[in-house]
């Protein structure tokens, strides 16, 4: 009764891991998502060899879309070298052998967690975002049954109320990342935990944004040239994170999203670009 009789080896996995039927099913859900920007399309999320909550929604999108001609870039927190980015790239590489890159403009397919690259994406590129909690209304309503109804009725009063309460209490809108936005004036959407800094990049962009939530089994999309407006009041405009006066200690950029770094010995505080490939390109260009 040994395993050897079953003739299964590590080389027997399909191109892009999932069976073709599953990939087609995911692409169908994706097409529906593109047709209804900002609407969360439920899908039969498959289990992957990577943990649920570690980007399995994004990976399923990537696996369903990728072909032998594609060039893949994977980033996590803006970094190509972050452990999870490396792990995902390694997995997709193992089951597809596609070309990978760290250069944003070379990639046809970019999978990301928590950031949109600094270099504007162009027509033909797809950015796949990993989403932990797709439901923007979850912070005001715990029950899926109710949030679905709220979307259907375009009942977004509770989330506006939350913004207002935060203004009254702290004099600021205190939502950090995952800042909700209105897509084409119809659906309020969670842009995934990107910083507010990246929200404007979603608006009328040239590329296709796809959002995949594996654990929560939802896919949604922002097709090119879609209107995406971060929620704000007329008299209190939307505000992004500020790094006033700070610049990257490596490339000197003062217009990028910066990570704060502490020097353990001196206790000094530095800033550096969170988008490591952008940072490197600026440094290389200067030399």
């Amino acid at each position: 009764m040994g395993i050897e009789h079953r003739k299964l080896t590590n080389n027997h996995y399909n191109f892009a891991f999932l069976d073709e039927g599953s990939k087609r099913e995911i692409r169908r859900a994706t097409l529906k998502a593109v047709a209804i920007p900002g609407y969360q399309v439920p899908f039969g999320s498959r289990e992957l060899p990577i943990g649920r909550g570690w980007g399995t929604g994004g990976i399923q999108l990537t696996l369903s879309l990728i072909g032998p001609e594609d060039t893949l870039k994977v980033i996590d927190q803006g970094s190509d070298e972050s452990v999870n980015a490396v792990s995902i790239k390694k997995f997709v590489g193992l089951c597809t052998q596609v070309k990978t890159t760290t250069r944003t403009h070379e990639a046809t397919l970019i999978q990301t967690r928590h950031r949109i690259p600094e270099i504007p994406l162009t027509q033909g590129q797809i950015l796949v975002l990993q989403v932990p909690i797709p439901e923007p209304l979850r912070i005001v309503e715990a029950r899926e049954e109710i949030t679905k109804q709220m979307h259907a009725e375009k009942d977004y009063a509770p989330i506006w109320l939350q913004l207002y309460e935060s203004l009254v209490k702290y004099n600021k809108v205190t939502i950090a990342s995952e800042y909700p936005c209105m897509v084409e004036g119809r659906y309020v959407m969670n842009p995934s935990p990107i910083p507010k800094f990246d929200n404007p990049k979603l608006h009328k962009s040239s590329c296709l944004y796809l959002f995949g939530a594996g654990r929560e089994k939802k896919i949604y999309a922002i097709p090119p040239h879609t209107e995406v407006i971060s929620l704000a009041f007329d008299d209190v405009p939307f505000e992004i994170e500020s790094f006033a006066g700070q610049q990257c200690r490596l490339c000197g950029s003062g217009n990028t999203y910066l990570d704060e770094v502490f020097d353990a010995q001196t206790g000094e505080r530095f800033h550096q670009c969170s988008d490591t490939s952008y940072c490197k390109e600026v440094v290389d260009h200067a030399q």
């Binding site: 009764m1 040994g2 395993i3 079953r6 996995y13 891991f17 999932l18 069976d19 039927g21 599953s22 439920p42 899908f43 039969g44 999320s45 289990e47 992957l48 060899p49 943990g51 649920r52 909550g53 570690w54 996590d76 927190q77 803006g78 970094s79 070298e81 972050s82 452990v83 999870n84 980015a85 490396v86 792990s87 390694k90 967690r113 928590h114 932990p132 029950r143 899926e144 049954e145 004099n171 600021k172 205190t174 950090a176 990342s177 995952e178 935990p193 990107i194 910083p195 507010k196 654990r215 089994k217 994170e241 500020s242 999203y257 910066l258 990570d259 704060e260 770094v261 550096q272 969170s274």
Partner: protein, 350 residues
């Protein structure tokens, strides 16, 4: 510097994976898959049940690969399952035809078909048996084999359920057979309110610890309190798939071991009372999980203010893969979002 900011993630991961082998390398002795399959069978059963894949050898292999961690083994089996094309659906199994190895009722002393105690740890004293350290596996196997072959086989008759008699009496509601295709939770997102088929599938794949804890909360007062196990049966059921070229014909593809429970609670029936049934069925021998499932099934039917009576609370939080995946993702870098959080906090502080 931390594990994202600079390059080196790739090397770090590779070394980390190599280091895992260190933790399996403390002895010259290997643990054979056959041994895991046959000697840790309750663990294998638990893993198969939570994975939703009945494959003993693969479950044993998965357990070997991950130092015996149930959640990792479930993870491995589920990921493997995603690569398999689904060619057939088995026909509906009628558990009245179960080849029973154990059957008890806590509701009635005498039940049609009789009670069969079978194998259970319930009445063992939990004293560590130090002699096991020197056990001769071959001798044990031979001894058991001899014992079995010296006995004359008895024919087993299909056994009606304890609830059948109560249904005839009208105390338990009878219902039509529902032969709608089930809502397959592995192919579709769970929707609320959910179908009962979706609920039962989700519960049978749930983490054993999670639903045991939930069921315990019901018994302690956060629910309808103390149900009665009307019947617990454990045994083999035969599986058939439809034979494609001959309509109405089917092919026997094997048997699986399972545990099935019906628990009874009193329930409102206009101006009088009736009994209501909760149902549990799980892969393998896992009695507490099957009982817990039946308790939760009943709570969800009843509804009410307690956590176990809230469908979304119960069904969305018990999947081993989902809960352990999301909890473990907290270890991933969150530098960007934390920076954003810091920014928001600082801005309120002027």
């Amino acid at each position: 510097m931390a594990y994202v900011a600079v390059s080196g993630g790739k090397e770090a991961i590779e070394e980390s994976i190599r280091l895992l082998d260190y933790y399996r390398s403390g002895t010259n002795k290997d643990i054979e898959i056959e041994a895991i399959e046959n000697k840790l069978s309750l663990l294998v059963d638990r893993v198969m049940s939570e994975a939703g894949l009945y494959a003993k050898t693969y479950a044993a292999l998965a357990l070997k690969q991950c130092e015996g961690s149930p959640e990792e083994a479930v993870f491995l089996l589920r990921a493997f399952r995603s690569t398999l094309t689904r060619n057939y659906y088995t026909e509906v199994v009628n558990t009245e035809d179960m080849r029973i190895v154990r059957r008890i009722s806590a509701a009635f002393k005498d039940i049609t078909g009789g009670q069969i105690l079978g194998a259970t740890y319930d009445y063992t004293h939990r004293l560590i048996n130090f002699d096991l350290d020197q056990e001769n596996a071959a001798e044990l196997k031979e001894h058991m084999h001899n014992m079995l072959t010296s006995q004359t086989a008895e024919e087993i008759h299909p056994c009606p359920r304890v609830s059948d008699a109560l249904k005839k009496e009208g105390i338990i509601d009878s219902c039509e057979e529902n032969n709608q295709p089930p809502h397959d939770v592995t192919m579709n997102m769970l929707e609320f309110p959910s179908d009962r088929s979706a609920r039962l599938q989700t519960l049978t794949r749930a983490d054993t610890g999670f639903i045991s804890g939930l069921a315990y909360s019901v018994l302690r007062g956060f629910g309808q309190v103390h149900p009665t196990v009307g019947e617990l049966r454990c045994g083999y059921v035969e599986l058939y798939v439809p034979y494609l070229s001959e309509i109405g014909e089917s092919i026997y593809i094997g048997e699986i071991m399972m545990t099935e429970v019906e628990c009874f609670n009193s329930a409102d029936d206009k101006d009088q009372l009736k009994l209501a049934v909760g149902y549990g069925a799980v892969f393998g021998r896992n009695e507490n999980k099957a009982i817990s499932m039946s308790v939760i099934d009943r709570e969800l039917d009843a509804g009410g203010p307690h956590p176990t009576q809230n469908e979304e609370f119960v069904l969305m939080h018990g999947d081993s893969l989902e809960m352990n995946g999301f909890i473990s993702h907290l270890k991933l870098p969150h530098y960007v979002t934390f920076q954003s959080k810091l920014d928001a906090v600082r801005k309120t502080r002027g």
